[in-house]
């Protein structure tokens, strides 16, 4: 089965030519139709940057140095803004973390929804209204007709996030990139939103790229996952495979240091040290300085991403 989205050897960073400093290095993965792919990592690992690269939303000082993002045969990184705008919001859309800052506080919900429709089709005002109410109902917002007239600040965090989801799903995209959509929400609201996303996904048969640092969320919502560290993809596999048997020491460390509800663990195992700074990336494997399994070669040579099986891959000399 061909991949819907293919990210290939992406290298993204700051500066030009000799002064180029890579932040994302050799990032590759695929997203298949209808699946939920989890992208896991801690802050600074590059997961958000990957999403922004796919959407063409990188800030001005960042650029794609090499690599590609294939969607339907086209390399998104090579498209102009006009061409990208045909795809963004329609075939690929994004849900952001902070609904308050990603919704325009000066416009009503109705206005903002209408914009999505206007941009991607020739609908009449009546049709737009109908479609807006339809999508708001789908995301389980009570009194959708009333809500069209509301402003973002009049809604709760959970509601705003649903509006964001509505906007992202309005044109029935093939892929939705969800960048930490529930991190800023309370745990009971998070449960509601995850439940909703689940339902919508099977309804509309869309693929979801779920970016998060919460292993619990990944375990519950995703089928496959990739783990990122310091700008690289270091492990890939189905959720069952990776949780059962993490191959990369970082993945293992991450799982052991996450407090798990119901586990009888008295003390969390920690990963010593901190994520290396951009200016000071270690020569060999980026995780070596913090790794308890590091050997000589780890400090000398950066390991390549190896496919262990059709679904599994890991970037490590000493796979566990």
């Amino acid at each position: 089965m061909g991949a819907l989205l293919e990210v290939k050897n992406l290298r993204v960073g700051r500066g030009k030519k000799e002064e180029f400093m890579g932040i994302l290095e050799d990032v590759s993965f695929e997203v298949y139709e209808g699946e939920t792919l989890g992208i896991v990592g801690e802050s600074g690992c590059g997961k958000s940057m990957t999403a922004l690269t796919i959407m063409g939303l990188l800030s001005k000082n960042l650029s794609v140095e090499s690599g590609a993002v294939y969607f339907n045969g086209t390399d998104l990184t090579k498209l102009s803004t006009t061409e990208l705008n045909q795809i963004r919001g329609k075939d690929i859309s994004m849900i952001f973390q902070e609904p308050m800052t990603s919704l325009n506080p000066a416009f009503t919900i109705g206005n903002q929804l209408a914009e999505v429709f206007k941009h991607h089709g020739n609908y009449s005002k009546k049709e737009i209204r109908e479609k807006s109410i339809e999508i708001l109902t789908k995301v389980r917002i009570p009194d959708p007709e009333e809500k069209l007239k509301s402003y973002p600040h009049e809604l709760s965090g959970g509601m705003r996030q649903r509006v964001m989801i509505a906007m992202a799903l309005a044109c029935k995209p093939k892929i939705v990139i969800a960048d930490e959509p529930t991190t800023a929400l309370d745990v009971t609201i998070q449960a509601q939103i995850l439940d909703l996303l689940n339902e919508l996904q099977s309804d509309l048969n869309m693929a979801v790229m779920f970016i998060t640092h919460d292993l619990g969320v990944v375990a519950e919502t995703c089928q496959r996952m990739i783990v990122m560290y310091a700008g690289q993809v270091i492990e890939e596999g189905t959720v069952e495979e990776v949780f059962e048997h993490p191959s990369h020491p970082y993945t293992r460390g991450l799982m052991l240091s996450s407090p798990r509800l119901g586990s009888k663990v008295k003390r969390l195992k920690t990963i010593e040290g901190v994520v290396p700074d951009l200016d000071n990336m270690p020569k060999g494997c980026r995780f070596a300085p913090r790794c308890e399994f590091a050997t000589d070669i780890c400090y000398e040579q950066a390991p390549l991403f190896e496919k262990i099986s059709t679904s599994r891959g890991v970037r490590c000399w000493n796979k566990l």
């Binding site: 801690e42 802050s43 009570p142 709760s156 959970g158 509601m159 309370d186 745990v187 009971t188 609201i189 998070q190 449960a191 509601q192 995850l194 439940d195 640092h213 919460d214 292993l215 619990g216 969320v217 990944v218 375990a219 519950e220 919502t221 959720v239 069952e240 949780f243 460390g253 991450l254 799982m255 240091s257 996450s258 407090p259 798990r260 509800l261 119901g262 663990v265 008295k266 003390r267 969390l268 195992k269 920690t270 990963i271 010593e272 901190v274």
Partner: protein, 334 residues
């Protein structure tokens, strides 16, 4: 840990603590709306234990924590610290209390004065409380840094040169400076990455054992709370809905809200999801401006009946250590 705690004396007792914020006044100066952030909270914390207060945003847990040391002025109620009611103390009188009650804040990025060196930050409580000579203070700062796992070189650095986890360690060192008996930890790891969280949680546990500290641990993260707590209070919209030992709360939750809370937490185990029965709440948390009459939770509770709408349930004891505020808890626990 807990067994010791029950045998010891209460360190802090809170009785019917309330914090109400009057909102808009109408033309005649009468207060129209009142935000009842904390609406009658009572609990006791024993020496040597970790007492956690959990709840989602808006439940009043942070406000409760800040009322304990008067960073926020309580509207009414008592806070008895080692027998003394500190609610009415002046700022000067509180100074004496502060030596024994300290606080660790949530955001490592804003809890340290960016213009102070680490040394100055940690020595500030010592200076204010006239700990000793300059060299005494410097020695103590050095010892504190070592205690929290930071090298002495850090004394001359500025907060912006440290990582989030390191900043939080400085915050902990500062809280420990005066050798307090009680430390209020206000979401101390929420702003940190998972692997750093683990480091800090372990540190807090170690320090508690080493120094015989008592913690009040405020958090929304139940997984962390399970790890570190002896006893737990669950708050919803300004009130405590359930209180008990850690095992009681996690293994035998009585209040519907506690059950929902526990079932909402995503578990990092792909196999578990098939067996889980999750209760999904409808709607959002009501505003603390106009809490629902009767039981505060009745608007979202899947088991609401008429009595829930009409009257607020009193706290009833399930065991000597476990209490719950629900009309139907008996019939719901099967």
């Amino acid at each position: 840990m807990l067994e010791q705690a029950i045998k010891t004396e209460p360190l802090l007792t809170v009785n019917h603590l309330k914090k109400h914020y009057p909102m808009k006044k109408d033309l005649f100066g009468k207060k129209n709306e009142v935000v009842k952030a904390v609406d009658g909270v009572s609990f006791t914390v024993y020496k040597g234990e970790t007492f956690s207060i959990v709840g989602e945003s808006g439940c009043g847990k942070t406000t409760t924590g800040m009322c304990l040391n008067r960073l926020i002025e309580p509207t009414s109620g008592d806070v008895l610290f080692e027998g003394e009611n500190v609610v009415t103390y002046s700022h000067k009188q509180m100074k004496k209390i502060y030596r024994n009650m300290q606080i660790i804040f949530q955001d490592p990025y804003s809890s340290l004065n960016p213009k102070f060196t680490i040394q100055r930050i940690i020595s500030e409580p010592l200076v204010i409380n006239r700990y000793g000579s300059k060299s005494d203070i410097r020695d103590r700062v050095r010892a504190l840094l070592e205690l929290v796992g930071l090298r002495p070189e850090y004394m001359n650095r500025y907060p912006h040169e440290l990582s989030g986890g390191q900043k939080q360690r400085v915050g902990i060192a500062r809280a420990l400076a005066l050798n307090p008996k009680l430390i209020i930890c206000d979401e101390p790891v929420s702003a940190l990455d998972v692997s750093i969280q683990a480091q800090i949680v372990n540190l807090l546990k170690d320090l508690q054992e080493q120094l015989g500290l008592t913690y009040i641990f405020i958090s929304h993260d139940l997984s962390v709370v399970e790890l570190i707590s002896d006893r737990i209070a669950v708050m919803y919209l300004g009130k405590i809905v359930e209180q008990g030992t850690r095992d009681e709360i996690f293994n035998n939750p009585q209040h519907p809200y506690t059950k929902v809370l526990l079932s909402s937490i995503p578990v990092a185990d792909p196999k578990a999801k098939k067996n889980r029965e999750r209760i999904i709440l409808k709607g959002d948390m009501p505003s603390p401006k106009n809490p629902p009459k009767g039981c505060h939770f009745h608007t979202r509770c899947p088991f609401t009946t008429e009595i829930c709408v009409e009257s607020y349930p009193e706290h009833t004891s399930v065991t000597s250590t476990h209490s719950v505020a629900c009309h139907h808890y008996k019939s719901l626990s099967s």
